[in-house]
């Protein structure tokens, strides 16, 4: 994002920007960005950069994720916004209009999506200019389009002026571009309202922001939204004036609150939670310091022979001590092979979500254990019993580069990242297999099934375990017991004309008090170089059980991956027991995944979905090196929009947050959510754990390179 003058003057940081390095396969990515937090700018009641009820022309800082709750005159908006790239942002909104009496509901609930694109950057004289589409995909109740310009005048003043169409062209219009077609009655939403865009009356709007201190911002606005239905017909409030005024206060960098006097008659409030995946909640990593490399004594080079290999007891001891050293770093040694000059360790990393950190720590620990004749060290990360890659580094490089200023770049250039399918396993470390792990823990679920009762959920206890009989052969199960929940407060039933593969989710939630979440037997294997395979059988997910097979082609240094999956599944009973319903289906997809670079991932999956419909899913995700992932997906199938029902087709937003980011400690745990406007039956896939693409690529060249800065941590 272009740093405005106002921001720049506050950013006297010794570390401001890094050099931008070309992202090649094996270069350490260096980024632009500040170690200090960038000011977040200000969000409006729709949760996008703006004054009060109107938008403005600047963008939020790259990657900012914000949640804004706002309320005035019985209109409540819950907004989630993400700055997808420097220029593009997307928002998802859940609105409640109290007493609106629309579409048969007293309180009207509406979901909407926005997209914004910054056309021009702010310059010395030039304002930042953004074009935006509001509610362009929903039922169109709040739809508006706008072009708006914003300029900072000095450090404290920001002015905005724009033109609006749709909702934002409804007051004080100065002209009209054609006529704006109405949405047809009975519109299901979910389709692009292209015929409406920038059509009909156009009206100007303007805003002024004044920041007397770093924490306080005063705002003034002229709004071009007439709130015709809300104020004229339904009397939610009286729109006595087009002017809004308000004040916002930054309680912290990430929490802002505001109060407003709106439209000459009513009070408004807002609260924003602002996060940026690039700025951890707790800076750094509170992992204890790694062991420093123990360099070999080069003056004793003569004694670096391999005679020690003659006695097999020596390699046994090395393996035993290595297993302890790896365990000290919070990981598990599965197999190890040692020769006179090489050592290969198969590692299960259960602690470090920064994979290079796991590899770097194992390597350094080995410098204390391996006899001096061992020069080549390979670490093979194992996921679900199968090797994901092999990272090979010469011990002398480890000794040489540890403390050098460019040691991170040097060690990456010297490291070889290769396929590990054909590598011999070596000898099993004591106690690696069979391996039982289990946990009893609290759980909480939430569901949005019923527009009239949007928040339903339950909490309880979960017991789960896995038993790894042999490398790749995993038995896994999970049972939950509800302690408290309110799903029974809703009596909504699915009106879907398709097989009810997902739309009965509420019944599953209601009737499941003791639930077998999954109970599966899986076998993971490497059919050959660059190939990964999985077969699973059992109760695969909450709603379906059956058999599933998957194969993935993903060379370690490739941006492209191809996969295929085939499943035969039968629908499970609502109560979460062992029983099945009558419905069964053959479902499966072929998939292509492509990493665009800089963390942008695209995928397309085509095939047959759970309701027997054929189609394809496209997805775009932005993944940060620290594990944050924000993405969107959409599925189009041969189910007609009428048959699909409200929303017309399946789409949604997904967010995954690494707990290490929240807590500042290394952990591989993440928490995530998928937000869909509505869950219907078209375009639904089997949801099961252990799919191959996401489990193996973390250890491949592109992903390792992005996080390689963590190798010496």
């Amino acid at each position: 994002m272009p740093v405005s003058k106002r921001y720049r003057s506050r950013q006297r940081a010794i570390v401001r920007k890094g050099r931008v390095a070309a992202l090649t396969c094996c270069a350490v990515a260096a980024s632009t960005g500040s170690v200090l937090p960038e000011p977040a700018g200000s969000l409006n009641l729709y949760g996008v950069p703006g004054t009060i009820d109107m938008p403005s022309g600047e963008s939020a800082p790259d990657a900012q994720l914000s949640m804004t709750l706002s309320s005035f005159a019985g209109i409540q908006r819950t907004n989630l916004s993400f700055q997808l790239t420097d220029r593009i942002s997307a928002s998802f909104r859940y609105s409640k209009f109290k007493d609106l009496n629309l579409g048969g509901y007293v309180d009207y609930y509406d979901r909407s999506f926005d997209i914004r694109f910054r056309l021009l950057d702010e310059g010395k004289y030039m304002p930042a200019v953004t074009v935006g589409l509001q509610d362009f995909l929903g039922t169109g109740y709040s739809s508006a389009e706008y072009v708006v310009a914003t300029k900072n005048l000095g450090d404290k003043v920001k002015v905005s002026a724009g033109l609006g169409w749709g909702r934002f062209g409804s007051h004080g219009s100065i002209g009209s571009i054609g006529t704006r077609p109405d949405r047809s009655a009975g519109d299901l939403g979910g389709t692009l309202n292209t015929a409406q865009w920038f059509r009909g009356p156009v009206a100007p709007f303007a805003g002024l922001q004044f920041a007397p201190t770093d924490k306080l911002t005063l705002k003034f606005e002229y709004s071009s939204d007439a709130y015709t239905l809300e104020s004229d017909s339904r009397d939610l409030f009286e729109r006595a004036s087009p002017f809004n005024i308000g004040a916002e206060y930054k309680l912290s960098d990430s929490f802002h609150v505001g109060a407003y006097y709106m439209y000459g008659s009513t009070l408004g409030f807002s609260a924003s939670l602002i996060l940026n995946p690039k700025k951890p909640a707790l800076p750094g990593s509170n992992a204890k310091a790694p062991l420093p490399v123990k360099p070999r004594d080069r003056s004793a080079l003569d004694s670096w022979g391999t005679e020690w290999t003659a006695d097999p007891a020596n390699t046994d001891t090395i393996r035993r001590v290595s297993a302890e050293a790896v365990a000290n770093e919070g990981m598990l040694l599965e197999h190890m092979q040692v020769t006179g000059n090489t050592a290969t360790l198969r590692i299960r990393n259960t602690r470090y979500d920064a994979e290079p950190m796991a590899i770097g720590r194992v390597m350094r620990a080995m410098s204390y254990i391996l006899p001096p004749s061992v020069e080549v060290i390979s670490v093979v990360p194992v996921v679900n019993g199968i090797p994901a890659s092999a990272v090979t580094i010469r011990r002398s490089d480890l000794e040489r580069f540890e403390n050098l200023p460019d040691g991170t770049e040097q060690i990456l250039a010297a490291a070889e990242i290769t396929d590990a399918a054909d590598q011999p396993r070596g000898i099993e470390a004591e106690g690696a297999y069979p391996r039982l792990s289990w946990a009893i823990e609290p759980y909480a679920t939430i569901g949005v099934f019923d527009p009239r009762n949007p928040v339903l959920g339950d909490v309880g206890l979960r017991a789960r375990g896995s038993f790894e009989v042999a490398p790749g052969f995993v038995l896994s199960g999970s049972v939950t017991q509800r302690v408290y929940g309110n799903y029974d407060e809703s009596d909504r039933v699915s009106d879907s004309v398709l097989p009810h593969v997902r739309s009965d989710a509420l019944r599953y939630a209601q009737e499941g008090s003791t639930v077998l979440e999954h109970l599966t037997a899986s076998y993971y294997f490497r059919p050959g170089k660059d190939l990964y395979g999985r077969v699973s059988a059992g109760y695969l997910e909450r709603m379906f059980g059956g058999v599933s097979a998957e194969v993935l082609w993903k060379p370690v240094d490739s941006r492209l991956a191809l996969g295929a999956e085939a499943n035969w599944v039968k629908q499970r009973d609502f109560d979460g027991g062992f029983g099945f319903q009558d419905y069964s289906v053959v479902t499966g997809h072929v998939s292509a995944y492509y990493a665009l670079g800089n963390g942008y991932l695209t995928s397309i999956q085509a095939g047959r979905y759970l309701a027997g419909d054929w189609g394809a899913t496209v997805a775009l995700d932005r993944e940060f090196a620290n594990g944050w992932k924000v993405g969107a997906f959409a599925t189009l199938t041969d189910v007609s929009h009428e048959d699909f029902g409200e929303g017309s087709f399946d789409k949604g937003i997904r967010v995954e947050v690494p707990l290490s980011w929240l807590l500042g400690k290394p952990t591989t745990s993440t928490t995530g959510m998928v937000l869909r406007p509505l869950v219907r039956d078209g375009g639904q896939m089997l949801e099961m754990e252990g799919r191959l693409y996401d489990s193996v690529r973390d250890y491949h060249s592109l992903e390792l390179s992005r996080e390689w800065g963590m190798f010496w941590r």
Partner: protein, 228 residues
């Protein structure tokens, strides 16, 4: 977002109920909720722990039995101090480790890295500074410091530095006086940030004391050589 709030509410509820999770111990196999519970509990517990005796209460007598090189490191911003032991030497660099497993790496006393702090220096250039410290004259040079940003990318800070002699000073470190010459290094980057490092060098070239910039989050760190 109702979803998110409900999720947060659910987590808070689960925490309030004190639903302690237990498991077989494999870290990666725990659920987010469990992990959060565990780590938050640790943080709360950690806060209530009695602070370790401040390193400032150290006496020379207490060091009598200590062997080998020992330095005292104090972070100004967090007011934390620890004695560090030389754990390993490699290529002219020494890595010094505290009892609670934090480490700094120094080359002849000049900071090149830290590990285990909330904000770490990944790798800093030391050679130009060391060369400038060897003489009692002013000199100018550049150096690059590498940090890891919040998104785990390497951030390079390119500094323009100038070293100037401040004068002769006698400093006291734990009941012992050292005659030193005081040198000051002022560095700035192209974004207007400025830092100042101070060094006190003995006649034999020993860097007895220094105050060096560590990290934007951590601020400055002071080193005092307790035992050579």
């Amino acid at each position: 977002m109702g979803d998110v709030l409900a999720m947060i509410r659910g987590m808070v509820l689960a925490l309030a109920l004190g639903l302690a999770a237990c498991s077989s111990g494999g870290e990666g196999t725990t659920s987010p909720l469990t992990e959060a519970t565990r780590l938050i509990t640790q943080k709360i517990k950690g806060r209530n722990k009695a602070p370790p005796p401040p390193a400032a209460q150290l006496t020379r007598a207490a060091l009598e039995d200590a062997k080998g090189p020992l330095i005292l490191a104090s972070i100004e911003r967090s007011k934390a101090a620890a004695t560090l032991r030389l754990a390993r030497q490699n290529g002219g660099y020494g890595t010094w480790v505290s009892l609670d497993k934090l480490s700094v790496t120094l080359k002849q006393g000049v900071l090149s890295a830290s590990r285990g702090l909330p904000g770490d220096l990944l790798a800093g250039e030391t050679d130009a500074t060391l060369a400038a410290l060897r003489t009692d004259e002013s000199s100018s040079y550049g150096k690059v410091m590498r940090y890891i940003g919040g998104d785990r990318q390497i951030l390079k800070s390119r500094l323009s530095c100038r070293m100037d002699p401040v004068g002769a000073e006698t400093i006291e470190i734990l009941e012992r006086s050292h005659a030193t010459r005081h040198m000051a290094e002022v560095c700035s980057d192209s974004y207007g940030g400025t830092i100042r490092n101070d060094y006190w060098i003995g006649d034999d070239g020993t860097l007895w004391q220094s105050r060096q910039y560590l990290h934007p989050v951590m601020g400055y760190i002071t080193f005092q050589q307790l035992l050579k």
